[in-house]
């Protein structure tokens, strides 16, 4: 019982250390970074479409400078 208790504590510490490593890795890497757009994996992928062509979207209407990019998720 005690061994199991300390076992899960060790497991949770590993997870927290990994989370800290993720943040630290990101912060350490931020010098000289060129931001890039990351599309979350459950989103429609960027790039051309079979019917929509190069844009990857059917533009039903457009005027001025507004683009579909303005409406994409703000997530990296």
């Amino acid at each position: 019982m005690i061994e199991a208790h300390y076992g899960w504590i060790a497991g949770r510490r590993r997870v927290r250390r990994l989370a800290i490593a993720i943040v630290a890795g990101g912060l350490a890497a931020c010098s000289g970074v060129e931001p890039m757009r990351y599309t979350p994996i459950d989103e429609i992928p960027p790039g051309p479409g079979l019917f929509s062509g190069e844009d990857g979207v059917f533009t039903l209407y457009r005027s001025g400078a507004a683009t579909e990019d303005d409406g994409e998720s703000a997530e990296p």
Partner: protein, 382 residues
């Protein structure tokens, strides 16, 4: 007796009316179609955009639960079949507003289908993904309102391997409804594994900061006292390396809180590694609050660029403990490993994919056979 003499002829005037009635809808339709070809959708406003996009993602799923096998036609829940409308209107150079309307239509979702081919609870219609609006300021960030991604959604799923359409940290999306021990016997895969991916999508209000050197911060508040915060990063960090990652903290009402994250590194050579982990703290309110749910995930991949499109390969391993909210789940140890390949066919905007995954559950006092699954299919962006 031929068909023309089977029924008495209608009077000439009635026949003319019938002819008009029968052809009117077609005439109207052709008229509208002709109008559509010659006249644009119009608006009285300037600086606006309205677009339509979508995808179809279908596959064949083979499953073996140790008792029986099945071959099932499925919709791949890793990235479901859907359609999306995005509207944007710009107020000035810095301020814009927009709407997102995105719905999915899954027939036999890989996340739910059982080995007998049934999909309990499946909707025979569109289901909501995003029904939201936003206001954006270039220097102050963006506020979202409506059904959409909470701040922490996707924070366990950052993945640059190019194989996510068939395998990623959300491994229960591949064959989640299959039960250990045979049909109707043990728990489903999606009951004993979770990647604790934040608070998913929900009716919420959300704020995103602008991007600072690849970093952004988000926070949201959803119904039932759910709230979360997440920090994200995505950038080219030099030395031929691209890095993306996220860490999130979420409170889910009075029941639990969790911390989770993921990180993915891609080298120009094509080699890539991905990791994810999460832990939940349970409070009173859970059926079994004496559990300590955790998960972790690791993936190694390679992307070969050339030919008809990128070819991506990957292997992965995942483990989770005490995820299911039942007394029996205390001491649960779930593990899974898989191998995946994705072939992009750029010319037809298609990804062809094939993946195999083994699922193992160790439960105190019970002995389950492994569940083995193979998923092959195609995602076509239209």
């Amino acid at each position: 007796m031929n068909a023309t003499t089977a029924f008495p002829k209608a009077p000439p005037r009635l026949r003319r009316r019938m002819l008009v009635a029968a052809t009117l809808p077609f005439a109207a339709a052709f008229g509208l179609a002709e109008q559509g070809l010659t006249a644009e959708v119009s608006s009285g406003n300037d600086d606006i955009s309205l677009t339509l996009s979508g995808q179809v993602n279908r596959g064949i799923l083979y499953v073996d639960d140790g008792t029986e096998t099945a071959v099932l036609n499925v919709d791949n829940d890793n990235s479901s079949t859907r359609v999306r409308f995005v509207g944007v209107g710009r107020y000035d150079e810095e301020i814009s507003a927009g709407t997102v309307f995105e719905v999915q239509f899954e027939s036999n979702s890989t996340a739910d289908i059982k080995i007998d081919g049934s999909s309990p609870g499946e909707s025979d219609s569109f289901t909501q993904r995003k029904l939201e609006l936003y206001f954006d300021h270039a220097r102050f960030g963006r506020i979202w309102l409506g059904q959409g991604d909470t701040a922490s959604n996707g924070s366990s799923e950052v993945d640059l391997s190019g194989t996510d359409v068939v395998g990623y940290s959300g491994i229960a999306d591949m064959a989640g409804g299959i039960e250990f021990g045979g049909f109707g016997v043990g728990p489903q895969i999606n009951e004993v594994f979770s990647n604790f991916d934040g608070l998913s999508r929900d009716d919420r209000i959300r704020y995103d900061t602008p991007n600072f050197g690849g970093f952004s911060l988000a926070a949201s508040y959803a119904d039932s006292r759910k709230s979360d915060v997440a920090i994200r990063f995505a950038g080219d960090i030099g030395a031929g390396l691209k890095l993306a990652g996220a860490v999130a903290y979420a409170i889910n009402g009075n029941v639990d809180s969790q911390i989770n994250g993921s990180l993915s590194l891609l080298h120009d050579s094509g080699f890539n590694i991905t990791g994810a982990a999460g832990v939940q703290d349970l409070q009173l309110g859970a059926t079994n609050p004496n559990r300590d749910p955790t998960f972790w995930y690791a993936k190694l991949g390679y992307i070969w660029s050339g030919g008809i499109g990128d070819t991506a390969f990957a292997i992965d391993y995942a483990a989770a403990e005490e995820v299911e909210d039942t007394v029996a789940a205390s001491g649960d140890e779930f593990t899974s490993y898989g191998v995946f390949v994705v072939q992009n066919v750029d010319k037809i905007a298609t990804e062809l994919y094939l993946g195999a995954r083994n699922h193992e559950l160790d439960r105190v006092g019970q002995n389950f056979d492994d569940v083995f699954a193979v998923l092959g299919g195609a995602r076509v962006k239209f």
